[in-house]
C-alpha cells in the first residue's frame, strides 16, 4: 500500500472519529450556563488552533534541520505540514468568528490574538506562493525554510498575545501553569477532539508528502 493510500485511510478514520466527537460534544457534554450551546464550538476551535500551532512548529523544526542537513525529506515534510496547517488555520478563522458573534456581539475585532492569527494564515499562504514562484528546487527549499522559521516566531507571539495585550479573546484554560479551568466532562471531550485533529493532521501530511514525492519524481524524469 502506498503512502498516499495509507494517509487516506488515516484521514477516513479521523473523519469517522470526528463524528464520534460530535456525538459526545452534542449529546454527552453539558451546555455551558453563560454562553449556551455556542460554547460547544470550543471543541472544534481550540483543537484546530492547537493543531495549527503544532503544524507550524513542526514546519519550523524541519526547516531548521533542513538548513543544516539539506535533506529533501525535511523540505517535503515542511511543505506538507505548512499546507495542512493552513487548512487548520482556516478552520480556526472560520469557527472563531462564528463563536465570537453570539458571545462578544461581533464577528471580528482587530486585537492582537485575532490579528496575529490572521497574519499567520497570510504568512502560510505566502509560504505556498513563494514555493510556487521559485523554480530552482534548492533555492525554493532554502527560502521556504527561512519563512517557515519566521512562522514559528509568530506562533510564539500568538500564544503570548493574550498575556501581553488587552484582548476580548480568553486566556488559555487548559494549557496554563495552573490546573485546567474546565470541568472534567468538557476536558475529556476537548482532549478527544484534539486526538482526532492529530489523527487528521497525520493522515493529511502523509498524503501531501506523497504528492510532493510524486511531483519530484515526475520533475526528475523530465
Amino acid at each position: 500500500m502506498s503512502l498516499a493510500q495509507k494517509g487516506r485511510r488515516v484521514v477516513l478514520a479521523g473523519l469517522v472519529l470526528l463524528g464520534g466527537v460530535y456525538v459526545r460534544a452534542l449529546a454527552f457534554t453539558p451546555v455551558e450556563r453563560f454562553q449556551g450551546p455556542a460554547q460547544k464550538i470550543f471543541y472544534l476551535h481550540v483543537p484546530a488552533a492547537v493543531t495549527t500551532e503544532l503544524a507550524v512548529i513542526l514546519v519550523g523544526l524541519a526547516s531548521v534541520f533542513f538548513l543544516f542537513l539539506k535533506d529533501p525529506r525535511l523540505d517535503r515534510f515542511a511543505e506538507a505540514s505548512a499546507e495542512v496547517g493552513t487548512v487548520f488555520a482556516a478552520i480556526v478563522l472560520t469557527t472563531g468568528p462564528i463563536w465570537g458573534k453570539p458571545i462578544w456581539g461581533t464577528w471580528w475585532t482587530w486585537d492582537a490574538r485575532l490579528t496575529s492569527t490572521l497574519f499567520l494564515f497570510f504568512l502560510l499562504i505566502g509560504y505556498h506562493v513563494l514555493r510556487g514562484a521559485v523554480t530552482d528546487a534548492g533555492l525554493r527549499a532554502r527560502y521556504a525554510a527561512v519563512l517557515g522559521i519566521c512562522a514559528v516566531v509568530l506562533v510564539g507571539f500568538i500564544h503570548m498575545s493574550v498575556y501581553l495585550f488587552p484582548t476580548l479573546h480568553p486566556q488559555p484554560i487548559v494549557l496554563r501553569p495552573a490546573k485546567p479551568g474546565v470541568p472534567p466532562e468538557m476536558l475529556v471531550t476537548l482532549l478527544l477532539s484534539f486526538g482526532v485533529f492529530l489523527v487528521l493532521y497525520v493522515g493529511f501530511v502523509m498524503q501531501r508528502y506523497a504528492i510532493a514525492q510524486q511531483r519530484e519524481g515526475a520533475a526528475s524524469d523530465v
Binding site: G7, R8, P37, I91, I98, W99, P102, Q207, I211
Partner: protein, 37 residues
C-alpha cells in the same frame, strides 16, 4: 435546559457544518492531486 441559558444553537450548527466541509474539501483536493497522473 435551564432558564437564562442563551439560545444560540444556530451558531453551533453553522460551525459544526463548516468544519467537516473544509476537511472534506481538502481531503477531496488531496485525493484528486494524488490520483492525477
Amino acid at each position: 435546559m435551564s432558564e437564562g441559558v442563551p439560545q444560540n444553537a444556530g451558531y453551533l450548527v453553522a460551525a459544526y457544518i463548516v468544519v467537516p466541509v473544509i476537511l472534506l474539501a481538502y481531503a477531496a483536493s488531496l485525493y484528486r492531486r494524488s490520483t492525477r497522473s
